[in-house]
């Protein structure tokens, strides 16, 4: 039996709570009027969403409720939920007004929802499109979402609209993506950008001129695609019919001539130039669905930088190759030969025609003074990229770089010092972004937290020696227990070689022999030292609340632990974490997995200082990312903490706990075991929820921390 619908009063009392009506003065009556007429299931659905949105903003929730019935009329519940989440996402990123506009502009959303339903979404297709374009030959291209919903390329990245929904079926829309990618690839590969655009466009109507060029290039490139990728070409023809791009096709007298000329096997950009004068200003086909646009400014920018950079790299590589070859041929191989820009390489002319070189630059061979030089793989890629730009290796590239001619630093990407970032105003450059879970909304805040990894300066004081002295006795017993761990032997049975006879195996073998079967030669037992393959990461709370006692105990624990972990030979890393709000999550590297435990690390441990707040989820997500690069059969993430997750903004109470729980769940999914050691007496209230019932320890006495931590570690890894 369906449950009875909620009454007016029941709904209004709920909404008043959601809207926080007492303070926001939102009148719930209108919204209630709408909801009360609905069946119970719809009521529940709306109220539930309303509650989730209200966790972000009450006004937004109110507007949502007003529009919800209309939304449900045009979309299913799943889409309505997505609509609400788009609004909250917008609220996160841009603020209330843009979020409101999503809610108010329902029709637009419904339209896009339709597009979403049948359209192809770049986010989803990129995992296929990227390997697709990289499988096509030439420069390794990237794919990115275009901000202005146009398809174009800057010769290194192919930009595509976020959604393509020109056709009814998502299969066809994907095909448009694929065709676009291939077409833009062809633009790069077959030399569209070798056209001297600034000259050609220097006329009274550059826009028209560009349109003409685009039309001509489309003919030329399609011919290339027809030869290179005939299957795709067929699909492109079908697309053209489906999108009716062909309907306006004009048959100017000259047009067929143009097509013939540009479809010839070796048609190049000069042919396009030549044809430019053949067609008049009105009669050429309009653009089709996959040809994108030409963004010449961006192309020029990227190309200029790349050409300069690649020339530098290439010439430097040539000079290295020349040196090597001279060394090989010289009588005094120890001397460093001098190479200057007079050293010139030559491209060996193969029988293959130029066209083949264009499509397959891998076959270009270089020679120096008539001798063939072997080309390393990374140089081949460089050459491919140069050939794509020029159609050949230009002669001026073939001079080896003289000493000091280039300063390679100029071409390296500027790496920002994370410490400098805070000098100015906050920005996200050079930082890593992480999502954060909002339990009320049951959804992630996308790229919400800004995390930076900072170096910790070592502090060389007496702390380490004092600690070792203070815990001398403890250290001794710890060492002993850990040494036992290390030497843990396992008796392996049924071995070919061993120290003792395996009686069980012998009896079995005897039986086998008696029954005429082959006797096994695995008759021995062997002691075998189990190899540990453990990687452990310690995440140390550096929040302000650890000041004093706790901080000292933490540092002492780390010193002792590091000493004994050395015995086991486990790989370990130590990171401290702290921060203020989501825009400033700071991770202090004390010891990474690669670093040796030495005096500098000890100094860094000694310098662990209380900082700001405890925002945990983001750090756990970062640790998970670090862990994913590590090969180990056991991955352990141990958090040393003094209390609940807590940050200056909303990251407190249930919100913080839930986000941390979600982050730990993500870590668990990646095969990381998490454990928490805390001194917070109240931790039993929330830690089981976050880490699971058996994955935490509460230590009531801070002074016990050093002993306990090592002890717990021993227990965890055996």
């Amino acid at each position: 039996m369906p449950r009875p619908a909620l009454t007016f009063e029941e709904i209004i009392s709920l909404l008043d709570v959601y809207y926080d009506a007492e303070f926001t003065f939102i009148k719930s009556e209108d919204a209630t009027e709408l909801i009360v007429k609905q069946p119970r299931s719809t009521q529940d659905f709306i109220l539930n969403l309303c509650k989730r949105i209200a966790a972000t903003n009450e006004e937004l929730a109110f507007q949502f409720t007003l529009n919800s019935i209309r939304a449900l009329e045009s979309m299913d519940q799943h889409m309505v939920e997505a609509w609400a989440m788009t609004a909250t996402d917008n609220y996160d990123r841009k603020g209330l007004t843009p979020a409101m506009s999503v809610i108010r502009d329902l029709d637009n959303y419904v339209h896009t929802a339709h597009i979403n339903a049948c359209g192809a979404v770049l986010d989803e297709e990129i995992s296929v499109l990227l390997p697709f374009v990289q499988g096509l030959s030439g420069r390794k291209l990237k794919i990115a979402e275009a901000e202005d919903n146009l398809a174009y390329t800057d010769t290194e990245t192919i930009f595509l609209p976020a959604i393509t929904a020109l056709l009814e079926e998502s299969k066809d829309n994907f095909l448009i993506y694929k065709a676009t990618v291939a077409f833009l690839w062809a633009q790069i590969q077959f030399g569209t950008f070798r056209l001297p655009f600034h000259e050609v466009l220097d006329c009274k109507d550059p826009e028209l001129q560009l349109k003409k060029i685009t039309a001509l290039e489309t003919v030329r490139l399609e011919a290339y695609i027809k030869r290179e990728l005939p299957g795709l070409y067929r699909d492109m023809q079908i697309l053209k019919q489906k999108t009716a791009d062909n309907n306006t096709q004009t048959h100017h007298d000259n047009w067929q001539k143009v097509i013939d000329k540009l479809s010839a096997e070796n048609a190049d950009i000069d042919d396009t130039l030549h044809c430019l004068s053949l067609i008049d200003d009105t009669q050429f086909p309009v653009s089709c669905c996959y040809q994108g646009v030409l963004k010449l400014d961006q192309v020029a920018d990227v190309m200029q930088k790349r050409i300069e950079k690649e020339k530098a790299y290439f010439r430097i590589t040539l000079s290295e190759m020349a040196k090597e070859s001279m060394k090989k041929n010289s009588d005094t191989p120890d001397e460093e030969p001098e190479v200057d820009s007079d050293t010139t390489f030559a491209v060996r002319n193969n029988d293959s025609n130029e066209n083949e070189q264009q499509t397959n630059p891998g076959i270009i061979e270089l020679e120096l003074e008539g001798e063939l030089i072997a080309i390393p793989d990374h140089v081949k890629q460089l050459m491919t990229s140069i050939v794509v730009d020029f159609g050949e290796i230009p002669p001026e590239h073939l001079h080896a770089a003289g000493p000091g001619e280039y300063d390679l630093k100029k071409y390296e990407e500027d790496i920002l010092n994370p410490n400098d970032v805070w000098q100015g105003t906050y920005h996200e450059e050079g930082a890593e972004l992480y999502n954060e879970w909002n339990f009320k909304r049951q959804h992630y805040h996308k790229n919400w937290c800004v995390l930076r990894e900072l170096e910790t300066e070592p502090k060389y004081d007496d702390f380490v020696t004092d600690t070792l002295e203070k815990h001398k006795g403890l250290l001794k017993s710890l060492r002993r227990t850990f040494e036992i761990l290390r030497g843990e032997d396992k008796l392996l049975k049924k071995q070919v070689h061993g120290d003792d006879i395996d009686i069980d195996a012998l009896v079995e073998a005897y039986g086998d022999v008696k029954s005429g079967m082959e006797m096994t030669d695995r008759l021995f037992t062997k002691m075998h030292k189990e190899e540990r393959n453990v990687a452990v990461m310690f995440m140390v709370d550096m929040s302000g609340s650890t000041k004093g006692w706790i901080n000292e105990a933490e540092r002492e624990s780390l010193i002792l632990l590091s000493e004994v972990i050395q015995i086991l030979g486990d790989r370990f890393a130590i990171y401290g974490f702290s921060g203020v709000t989501r825009t400033r999550c700071e991770l202090y590297k004390i010891k990474s997995f690669e670093e040796e435990y030495n005096d500098e690390i000890k100094g860094r441990i000694s310098n662990i200082q209380p900082k700001d707040y405890t925002r945990m989820g983001v750090f756990i997500r970062h640790m998970t990312r670090i862990f994913n690069d590590i090969e180990a059969s056991t991955k352990l993430l141990i958090t040393l903490s003094d209390g609940k997750p807590d940050d200056y903004d909303t990251y407190r109470g249930e919100y913080g706990v839930e986000d941390t729980r979600q982050a730990l769940y993500e870590a668990h999914r990646d095969g990381i075991h998490s454990y928490c050691i805390t001194i917070d007496e109240e931790a039993r209230d929330y830690l089981p929820h976050m880490y699971g019932a058996a994955n935490y320890s509460v230590i009531s006495d801070v002074a016990q921390l050093p002993l306990k931590v090592s002890d717990i570690y021993r227990r965890l890894t055996t």
Binding site: V128, P131, F132, Q134, G135, K140, A182, G231, N360, V513
Partner: protein, 270 residues
């Protein structure tokens, strides 16, 4: 028809196995064979190492005994063991011992997969001693001049744990194999399967696409062997796109996205 059972050392390859020489590997192998040097074949999977061995066995008119090594293969699997027959123990030679006795070519495929103790029995065979010690029977067999030891190894994807030890690899004459260049590869496919040149060309192009993807989603590109498989399917009337999918894409990856991407590539080509 009943198939004939032969002892491996009596099995001579009668018909010339098709092998397209890429460089001077045949000459080098023959020279090494004459000088009684062992041979190490390096190269990615499916590039023709085993076929080359068959071809050489035919050329040199020696039986070829191939052992595909796996991680449970021990020295006694190679040398031999005692078996019980009618209340008595009988010594039975393993494939290596058979080859040594009969002057066959012994080819240990993917040698690094085998257990470490196998190297112990290979070492004395692979240097100028040319003997096989048989610990269990207390004998040493001297290899006949006809005997030849060849091992293969794929440096591409084995783990560090399974790297070939210097002491082993420095006993061998190494021949490096790689996929043949495009024209040659197409020719091989045509010869092996009899498909038309255009399709073969497309297949090779497809293979190059997958090889370009090595490192960005694929562990290994399509091998010549896979191309031959696909070509055979095409020859039987399967559509090229389906053939590429079943014989190549599905064979080299399990990743769904990668499979779709490769399918898109092949459907673009054919």
């Amino acid at each position: 028809m009943q198939s004939k059972a032969l002892k491996p050392e009596e099995y001579f390859i009668k018909d010339e196995p098709y092998y397209q020489s890429v460089g001077d590997e045949i000459a080098i192998f023959e020279a090494a064979y004459k000088q009684a040097l062992p041979i190490l074949l390096k190269g990615p999977t499916g590039c023709g190492k085993t076929r080359f061995m068959e071809h050489m066995a035919w050329r040199l008119k020696r039986p070829l005994i191939t052992v595909s090594c796996h991680d449970d293969l021990t020295a006694s699997d190679l040398v031999g063991r005692f078996l019980i027959s009618g209340g008595e123990t009988v010594w039975v030679d393993g494939p290596l011992a058979r080859s040594v006795r009969n002057g066959a070519i012994c080819y240990l495929d993917e040698i690094v997969e085998a257990r470490k103790d196998t190297t112990v029995v290979i070492h004395p065979l692979a240097d100028d001693r040319r003997v096989l010690p048989m610990e269990k029977v207390g004998e040493i067999i001297e290899a006949t001049p006809d005997f030849c030891l060849a091992i293969s190894y794929n440096p591409g994807y084995q783990s560090v744990m399974k790297d070939l030890k210097q002491s082993t690899r420095q006993r061998f004459v190494a021949l490096e194999f790689d996929y043949p260049d495009a024209a040659l590869e197409a020719e091989i496919i045509i010869k092996e399967t009899g498909i038309d040149a255009a399709t073969a060309g497309h297949l090779v192009k497809f293979a190059h696409m997958t090889r370009d993807l090595k490192g960005s989603g694929l562990d290994e590109g399509a091998s010549t062997r896979l191309l031959v498989h696909a070509a055979k399917l095409i020859h039987e009337g399967i559509s090229p796109v389906t053939a590429c999918k079943t014989a190549i894409s599905q064979a080299i990856t399990d990743d769904a996205d990668m499979m779709v991407a490769m399918h898109e590539l092949s459907s673009s080509l054919f």
